[in-house]
């Protein structure tokens, strides 16, 4: 069964994704449950969902500095970052940190 996850974009990240703040996606079969990781997900998101310049989202094989990734309401650093194995029903949030005041 393919993995279904929810992606959310906040703090202005949504401007890079057609102004959609929340998107449910079913990942293609190449994302095998139990082995597919965030390292696989990021380029897929970039190539399939991003509507603005790629460098505003990724640098090298990870998100660019200033973007915080949350996995089910938790900082992805606590969940293994790029090595985190995607689970069905996961909510992955990409937040652009704000600096204005």
């Amino acid at each position: 069964m393919p993995l279904s996850i929810t992606l959310e974009f906040s703090g202005g990240m949504e401007l890079l994704f057609n102004n959609e703040k929340r998107k449910q996606v079913t990942l293609p079969d190449s994302f095998a449950p139990g082995t597919a990781t965030l390292k696989d997900l990021l380029p897929w998101v970039r190539d399939n969902l991003l509507t603005e310049r790629a460098e505003l989202f990724m640098q090298d094989d990870t998100v660019r500095p200033g973007i915080l990734v949350l996995i089910n309401e938790t900082d992805w650093e606590l969940e293994g970052e790029l090595e985190y194995k995607i689970q069905d029903g996961d909510v992955i949030v990409f937040i652009s940190t704000l600096h204005g005041g």
Binding site: E73, D75, I95, G100
Partner: protein, 284 residues
């Protein structure tokens, strides 16, 4: 003259703060702690305006306000500590005037300076807590690093368009800004309120929440947002609190083997500065 710590509230203070003395979590002891605390607010703009006003109203004994800009008409849509008669006045002075009118019990210091590597360490050491109400990446790293060097908790807020964020750094072993964001964002990805706009009451809400976190830390109720990030989306009225990583052992400033031990050149580090007027007009 050093600020004298008090061990008793005056009759005037008891009457003035009676509504807070009744709150079990505050009480006389909490009010005394507020009276004996000093808070430095960096930025007298959209965040700093309500933060300063509510801190002064709550009975914080000493408040410092740093800003180097002057009040402009376009600030007044969100910076309610200023008013039309203050257009053209230094923001730090205008903010101080408002505090003086709100409370003669608050000792307020206005710093009309651009805070940078040359002066931050000296200023920060005089205060117990630092509120980051600034508008640019370079100053945020500067405040973070100096708060680590001087061991001061940093209550950090930000706002843009319909979004706001809030967290507390360097409190009781919690992470610092660099633990979470070791590298600054590319300058072209940074939007400020001048370019991106902001609905005025959004920094109003975040600034109020910054004041609340300060009051809670000072009175011993405890911060709710150390190692946590509050994310506010005004469009949907959603508040989400997420768990952040703890101190990062490899952190360049707060780790066990720091590679940065004094303020650096933050404009170079970030590729943009606070006075980068091409991008940063009237942002605070």
């Amino acid at each position: 003259v050093p600020f004298t710590q008090k061990t008793r509230l005056s009759n005037e203070e008891i009457s003035r703060f009676s509504r807070q003395l009744l709150v079990p979590e505050i009480g006389v002891q909490g009010q005394l702690k507020l009276r004996n605390a000093s808070v430095l607010v960096v930025g007298a703009g959209g965040l700093g305006a309500p933060a300063v006003m509510y801190l002064a109203a709550a009975g914080i004994g000493r408040i410092g306000i740093i800003d180097y800009d002057v009040v402009e008409a376009s600030n007044l849509q969100r910076q309610i500590i200023h008013d039309e008669s203050r257009v053209g006045m230094l923001k730090s002075e205008s903010a101080k005037q408002t505090v003086s009118k709100l409370s003669s019990l608050c000792e307020c210091t206005a710093y009309n300076i651009l805070i940078d590597s040359s002066n931050a360490m000296d200023v920060i050491k005089k205060w117990d807590y630092v509120v980051d109400a600034t508008d640019n990446v370079a100053t945020r790293y500067l405040l973070n690093d100096c708060c680590i060097f001087r061991n001061k908790p940093l209550i950090s807020g930000s706002a843009l368009r319909m979004d706001g964020q809030l967290t507390v750094y360097n409190l009781e072993g919690g992470p610092c800004y660099r633990c979470i964001f070791p590298k600054p964002p590319p300058p072209e990805t940074v939007t400020n309120c001048s370019d991106g706009g902001v609905l005025g009451v959004v920094p109003g809400i975040i600034g109020c929440l910054q004041a609340l976190e300060v009051v809670k830390i000072v009175t011993g109720i405890g911060a709710s947002l150390s190692q946590k990030l509050l994310i506010f989306d005004a469009t949907t009225m959603s508040f989400r609190t997420i768990r952040l990583r703890g101190r990062t052992p490899s952190c360049a400033v707060c780790g066990p083997h720091p590679t940065i031990t004094k303020p650096i050149d933050y404009v170079q580090f970030c590729g943009a500065g606070p006075d980068d007027k091409a991008h940063n007009i009237n942002i605070l």
